[in-house]
Symmetry: C2
Subunit: 339 residues, 2 copies
Amino acid sequence: MSRFVTLKDVAEKAGTTVGTVSYVLNDKKGRYISDELRRRVLDAASELNYIKCNGASSLKGMNRKLIGILIPQFENQFFTRICLAAEEVFVKHGYDLIICDTFDDPERENAIIRRLISQRVDGIIITPTAKGAENTQLIRDVGMNMVVVDRPLEGLEAYHWVTTDNYGCGYEGGAYLRECGHRKIVYIGWKSGIADLDSRETGLRNASAPDAEIYSYYADFSPEAGFDITDKAIEEHPDATAVFFGFNIQAKGGVNVFRKRGLRIGEDISVILIGSPEWAYTGNNDFAHLDMEELDLGRKAARLLLDLIMNGSAEPNRVIQDCVLIEGSSVRKIKKEER
Amino acid sequence: MSRFVTLKDVAEKAGTTVGTVSYVLNDKKGRYISDELRRRVLDAASELNYIKCNGASSLKGMNRKLIGILIPQFENQFFTRICLAAEEVFVKHGYDLIICDTFDDPERENAIIRRLISQRVDGIIITPTAKGAENTQLIRDVGMNMVVVDRPLEGLEAYHWVTTDNYGCGYEGGAYLRECGHRKIVYIGWKSGIADLDSRETGLRNASAPDAEIYSYYADFSPEAGFDITDKAIEEHPDATAVFFGFNIQAKGGVNVFRKRGLRIGEDISVILIGSPEWAYTGNNDFAHLDMEELDLGRKAARLLLDLIMNGSAEPNRVIQDCVLIEGSSVRKIKKEER
DNA sequence: CCAACATAGGCAAACGTTTGCCTATTCCTG
DNA sequence: CAGGAATAGGCAAACGTTTGCCTATGTTGG
């Protein structure tokens, strides 16, 4: 890697000193520079294609213009959408984004956090793993700005958090199924170890009719696990009229069970899920689902972090966003007389 | 942001000097350090939670341990999968990834490249926009390592490129449709201004029967444009038996046209697409498609870049990967007597 | 007993910026 | 015309690392 053009190179070419070049290029006011010299410097810089070394400026206490973001799954559109929205906001303010996938592995999360601090990022957005409270201790220790998105830091109180109403997701979905007359429901979920996520199931149960039966099954956070557990659930409860997927990643595998078993979705079996993966409403698919508006989540988190960076710290902030029920033909309305 | 712990802090606590601490922490050989002092330094470092400042080391010519990757669409799983695979490889070697979305906008691409150089990343992976050859000039000027993935740098010869056989994708798909007896085919494409991408259509045409008719339509690179153009194409060619989508992003919108028009996919109309978005094979969907194995693409690009970084430059390398036809019920086999 | 080597670690010069502190003109204004 | 303000720009000290160059003790073989 040849060698980068430095302030010194520019200064030499323009016949002045590095200090002056720095003043010119940063367009600092409170410093008198003749138009002529300014021109010479600017010309030299653009002729040499000078690009400042952000690492060196950050040594002097300037912002790195770098943000780190940790998500637990890159293959999950829910999270890539958060990143997408966040990136748009950050780029507009001249910040770059280091996007890291923790694969929901606490150890990996810890390592990534160390590396990001090592990069001296200006702030971190994180969807923590189950060990997030512990792992983010380091971030708080060094006083780095942080915004938590989606999942909480269990056991902690004072931090900035942008999230969806998980209980509400479960409740809204449950109420919809109830309205449509379903009272034998399979719930497919993930034992995340994160109470807030578990409240999706609670919401469903609280919204259901008193005489309804909810058959809960739990599996790993993957499409494959989703497929297997759904297959098992359907096998054991052929009488269930609906399946409620608490997590779109499991649903992605789970919904393929029905095709395999020759069950027509929306007729033989009703299906609803939390989240808005694109497969849910593309082609032949028209799944009822609970939209968490993750683009908004990402935007809000990014704006909050920028605010922290620019205005110093603020009161710990909690933003909870409502979800939106999107109806779909995957849920059958059971007629009164059938019940 | 309080103040980070520096080598100096560690040195003071351990009762030695920064130089020595640096030697200990980097575990340099060729330097004699007593076990006792080593322990003191290590203890001090871990007690103070010392994390090295990568920016400062990079000033001294060390690697930043930072890679930049530019993709044109974050919402396109084809690209996020490339990132996912690349990240796995890089992280294993201690590198962080700055992922940037150009939104297929050449100006944005240019700005991002400047910012990445400003961050002094150790290398860049890029899927260029139509103006990529121009915009990457800067990268080549400063001698930064670069691997191009998917699309080429039009007009340039000597660069490292990992890609799919685009012509082959078109050809394989066309041959499949021909086998199944289709000879009136709508092609939905994107006038990218990139010859290599346009060769998808050429492949389709070359694979089709001599008496086949291909009705080509072009639109912007978005689901919405895909929907509109597909609607128009079907309107104008109700006799077509199959639709070939050259780009999954357009297909995502386009496939919704059939539902709207009451056409049963795989019966009234056959559909095939290039790419493997998850919606294509989830739930009720079972679309024939051409898998470009983007995970492999990402892995190969990452490994090539790492190689360049570690072993200095190499001969410009070109890796072209075959695509794989995945059959699906979305394509009807037209019986002999119907033809 | 002394040269030669091994062991142990301090010192300071970079790396590329930013910025406070100077100095030296020129220009008013009373 | 003296002196303060405005204009213009050089100089050098940081920022946190890395590393080459020293010095100062042992330790050993001849």
